[in-house]
């Protein structure tokens, strides 16, 4: 069984990676309808909440980048991730290839048989977050594990058609 040494707070190399990710801009500043605007509209979030969730998404990407273990996001962060994946050039070229030099794949759950594993991974992600960022993840974006895997029954709705 492989035992990994406990992760302590960020080392110099990790800080450099975090700075790169933090400074990576998903929004196109020349665009009138940006990634943040689209994220807010599609999820019915405020701009403030969308901005904060994107920031947390960047932290999540950082955790994946520096860890050898799979990481599980909250549902909110997952929505940012899904949307970013649609901006293919930004995600695969600008972020993965040119900024991180690492491909980060999104793996949708295979079904209820993975639920226990996902829960465990999510808890580990929260722990890793706390260690490396020296603060607890904000609860309104990183839900507790029970809520995370209970409130997942979403449906896409056309608001113009359905009122």
């Amino acid at each position: 069984m492989l035992i990994l040494p406990p992760i302590k707070k960020m080392n110099v190399e990790q800080k450099e990676i975090w700075n790169k990710i933090q400074n990576f801009e998903i929004d196109d500043i020349g665009s009138s309808f940006t990634f943040t605007d689209r994220l807010a509209r599609e999820n019915d979030w405020t701009i403030e909440y969308s901005l904060r969730t994107i920031f947390e998404y960047k932290k999540f990407i950082f955790l994946i980048t520096i860890s050898n273990l799979p990481q599980t996001p909250s549902d909110q962060i997952d929505q940012v991730w899904h949307l970013h994946l649609l901006y293919t050039e930004s995600y695969w070229i600008e972020l993965c290839k040119h900024t991180l030099n690492k491909n980060i794949h999104h793996g949708p759950t295979k079904g209820s048989e993975e639920k226990a594993l996902c829960k465990e991974q999510y808890l580990k992600t929260l722990e890793l977050y706390e260690v490396l960022f020296n603060e607890k993840p904000p609860k309104d974006i990183w839900m507790d594990v029970e809520t995370r895997f209970k409130e997942i029954h979403f449906t896409r709705v056309n608001r113009k058609k359905n009122g």
Partner: protein, 269 residues
């Protein structure tokens, strides 16, 4: 005039002239006041999007300022400050920051209500259910009195400030420091002159003020502004143009712009 050292420009404007105020002005002066106090700061970064990018672009961000942790925000300032309370290291693109604040303001009536709820000025406004229901705002007797005093005081400074800054800088500086962010309400103030304030004069003011420490005043936050060469006043225009650019499409009840879909990319080099 002591009260002007304790209230923000938005609060002073509301007391002076509630009726004709626009949301844009209340928001703008609040934003500039927070910049002045270095609770928030603007950071311009020239960078490539990624190391292999051919182009260097200028990104303008709003970040928490050096006085962020020292400052207790008022209710109406939270629209700007709240994201940093939750994540102090977040950096937000300028245009998103203004849009976020506009959305959080919930419209002119609600924003005025938020300003009126601040401890320093709530006593100057009548608060009744009917007034709230019909969206009227009426000053109390004390409110009418303070309105007159504030208007007269600011008019007097306005008429004399240019002369003072040329001929009696010490007096001019003392006056400006005593009214804090309300310097934005002066029509005759030449901000370029402020950049030439002698550092010795500033130090003298600090010594004088240290003997009369007032914990309710933000005097110490404002004095920083005069020490730096921070070119914050250019952001007046940026604020207006940013708010105007999405004001017509943006609705506080939700974004209704852009119904376009996506397009494909022909491929990259």
């Amino acid at each position: 005039m002591k009260i002007l050292s304790k209230i923000t420009p938005a609060e002073a404007m509301l007391i002076k002239d509630d009726v004709s105020l626009e949301l844009k002005d209340l928001m703008k002066y609040t934003f500039m006041d927070l910049l002045l106090k270095k609770v928030i700061e603007i950071k311009e970064i020239n960078k490539k999007l990624h190391p292999k990018d051919k182009y260097i672009r200028t990104y303008t961000y709003v970040v928490s300022g050096k006085n962020f942790n020292k400052y207790k925000p008022k209710n109406h300032e939270l629209i700007y400050v709240r994201p940093f309370i939750k994540s102090q290291s977040i950096q937000i693109l300028f245009k998103h920051f203004i849009k976020m604040a506009y959305e959080s303001s919930n419209g002119i009536w609600n924003y005025k209500k938020t300003i009126r709820s601040n401890r320093e000025i709530s006593q100057f406004f009548k608060q009744t259910f009917l007034l709230n229901l019909f969206r009227f705002s009426i000053l109390t007797g004390n409110g009418v009195k303070i309105k007159k005093e504030i208007s007269n005081y600011l008019n007097e400074i306005d008429q004399n400030i240019d002369n003072l800054l040329h001929n009696d800088k010490k007096k001019g500086l003392e006056l400006l420091l005593s009214i804090g962010g309300n310097i934005f309400l002066l029509k005759n103030l030449n901000f370029q002159l402020l950049k030439k304030i002698n550092k010795e004069l500033l130090n003298h003011q600090k010594v004088l003020y240290a003997d009369t420490y007032d914990s309710d005043s933000d005097w110490w936050l404002y004095v920083d502004f005069f020490e730096d060469d921070y070119m914050f006043d250019s952001y007046f225009d940026s604020f207006d143009s940013t708010l105007d650019s999405f004001d017509s499409e943006f609705d506080t009840s939700g974004c209704s712009s852009c119904d376009s879909g996506c397009s494909s990319c022909g491929g990259c080099d």
